[in-house]
Amino acid sequence: MSKYRLLAMFDGFDPAIDTINAIKAEKLAGVSVDDITVMSPIEHPDIDEILGDRPVNIQKFTFLGALFGVTFGFFFLSSAQASFLVQPQGGKPVIPFPSNFVLMYEMLIFFGVWTTVFAFLWMSGLFRKRGTLYSEKLTVDQVGIVVEVEEHQLENTRAFFNDHNALEIREEKA
């Protein structure tokens, strides 16, 4: 038995939120609220609330990146300064803390930003292929809900979305 993916488009957030609430109340057989995907032109905090706890882990990467930047910064700088071409200047110590701290600070941010960006590209699944279900209206003002159902539930699901004022339903074989 094959699985199908359905995309239902809604006019704005209110009908979409109603639909998600209905799915949450288990009105749609075989679909859990944890499995649905909501696509929207803007971010809506209420949707996050209804969808429940879906964690974001980017900040952990950021923290590690920043930590790496600052420690790497110190060891990199002081080992460069203490290398065999020691050059004392201006009566300052060979390993001067004030200037190294400035550079460590910059390296903290540099590595922090880059790890954040790479973590974003990876964690948000931007490059992941998840079927071709998409509508250009999603970038105008409509909100889409994607669910995955078994073949025998197709009719049922379509009817469910139509009941909840879906403007358009697209489907494809998963």
């Binding site: 949707i47 980017i58 201006g90 001067p96 600070y105 540099f110 250009e136």
Partner: protein
């Protein structure tokens, strides 16, 4: 009611499809005026290229520098462009984390301004080098001879800070643009569709992407604020870390940061008005947003004025004869005209921003914003030159006015900046579409909420306690 409408940032009933259309329209089919401006900018840039080639061939003497004046307009211009880059961060990062809604229609071009002015500023430390072909020695690369740059030097800090800032602000610009690039991918044709399709990185706007996007945006904003402040503090260290009178000033880091935000805000005002008129963005770049920007500019202008006065006062009471001599010669010596231009443009002209009539009058604001920038440019020059003219060793006192080669390169840098900006407005959305949508959404719900509260007051019955309408405040609970 009229007052309420006037206080609205933008019209909340703007159709979302209309927003897409308006922005896409602003990006298409450059007209004659655009190409003429473009050609002028190219000509300006080529002037600078010619001057630089000449200087490269014959040496730094072409720039008219001499023994006390080892630095002049190049460094002042460098500081000016770095300073201008700070306003983008102010609008996009600082106002983002304090949830100022009015930034949304204008932060995109401010961010682009940040990136481009950094790309302009980056040229100047190179141009001013005597042996620019050895520029890469400033970078910490692994060499078999174990030679490293001198990490004590504020110029190396500059290299670190600027490369960090440039990459971070460019990434911030690009990441923040992804949802808009997806809009463009969906609603353009031909090569543009392919181009934006690649840049949009497969953005579909699903909930996982949005969640991660918000988090990333907030994290980057949190990084950019201390970064921007550190960048200009480090630029000020080029001066403050020296022992020269008039440079070795404790208040320089905050003074530079305030000056940076100041000139950046003035630049935002200029570009705001240009975009409003030439790209017909009246509905997005409203007079109300302009008012808020000018108020912000005024506040920063006063901070700058205060720090300026503090610097004078501490020099005066500190009674270090070297410092004091420099200060007196700034105000009364050969550079007095420049000094008083700085005071008038930087501290007096901003008082025009106190009047609502003037704040809402765009031509006046355009002139004022240019005057403020002039004031801030000469401020940078007043930091660099007079100290060198009158430092410790009296035998080496001198007065220097920059010759044409320096002027040409400085002039050309404006052409280069404008060129980048012109390309940007035609290739990328200069108004953030998705955030304007969020803004209208938010305003609509605010209006609904107000109406609901008014209704509640009218019939204060217990059974009237309907469920409160969704007070969607998109983008606010991101972190």
């Amino acid at each position: 009611m009229a007052q309420v409408i006037q206080d609205k940032i933008i019209d909340e009933n703007l159709k979302w499809s209309q927003i897409n259309q308006d922005v896409i329209r602003s990006m298409q089919a450059p007209g004659k005026a655009y190409w003429i401006t473009f050609a002028v900018c190219v000509a300006m840039f080529l002037t600078a290229v010619a001057a630089e080639i000449y200087q490269y061939k014959v040496g730094m003497g072409a720039a008219g520098l001499n023994n006390p004046h080892m630095w002049d307009m190049y460094i002042a211009t460098f500081v000016f462009w770095i300073g201008m880059s700070h306003a983008g961060t102010l609008l996009s990062a600082i106002l983002h984390i304090i949830h100022a809604q009015w930034r949304k229609p204008i932060y995109r071009f401010a961010e682009a301004m940040t990136t481009f002015s950094l790309m302009t500023a980056g040229f100047f430390p190179m141009i001013h080098l005597g042996r620019v072909w050895n520029l890469y020695w400033v970078l910490p690369y692994v060499s078999d001879r174990g030679i490293w740059p001198n990490f004590r030097s504020p110029l190396v800090w500059d290299a670190f800070a600027i490369s960090t800032y440039l990459s971070a602000s460019a990434l911030f610009l690009v990441i923040g643009m992804i949802p808009d690039l997806a809009i463009l991918r969906d609603h353009t044709k031909g090569w543009r569709k392919k181009f934006y399709g690649i840049l949009a990185l497969g953005w579909r706007g699903d909930d996982r992407q949005w969640r991660n996007f918000r988090k990333t945006y907030m994290l980057m904003a949190c990084f950019l604020i201390p970064l921007a402040i550190s960048v200009h503090s480090i630029v000020s260290s080029d001066f403050a870390m020296s022992i020269m009178p008039g440079w070795h000033v404790t208040t320089f880091p905050p003074y530079f940061v305030a000056g940076a935000l100041y000139s950046g805000c003035a630049a935002i005002m200029t570009l705001f008005i240009c975009l409003r008129y030439f790209f017909h963005m009246e509905e997005y770049m409203t007079k109300n947003i302009m008012e808020k920007t000018t108020k912000l500019t005024f506040a920063i202008a006063m901070v700058w004025t205060y720090l300026n006065l503090i610097e004078f006062a501490s020099t005066w009471y500190g009674h270090n004869i070297y410092d004091k001599e420099v200060l007196i010669s700034k105000a009364t010596g050969p550079y007095a005209v420049v000094f008083w231009t700085m005071i008038i443009c930087g501290s007096v002209v901003p008082f025009t921003l106190c009047f609502q009539k003037l704040r809402r009058h765009m031509p006046t604001m355009f002139v004022v914003s240019l005057l403020l920038q002039l004031g801030m440019y000469v401020e940078r020059w007043m930091i660099v030159a007079p100290t060198l003219s009158q430092a410790h060793q009296p035998h080496q006192w001198d007065v220097l006015w920059a010759p044409v080669v320096q002027w040409a390169i400085v002039f050309g840098s404006f052409g280069w900046f404008a060129l980048l900006f012109l390309v940007f407005v035609k290739l990328f959305p200069s108004v953030s579409m998705y955030e304007v949508k969020e803004l209208t959404f938010h305003l609509q719900h605010e209006a609904e909420e107000e109406k609901w509260l008014a209704d509640q007051e009218k019939h204060a019955t217990p059974e009237g306690a309907r469920e409160k309408p969704v007070t969607g405040r998109p983008g606010l609970e991101g972190a």
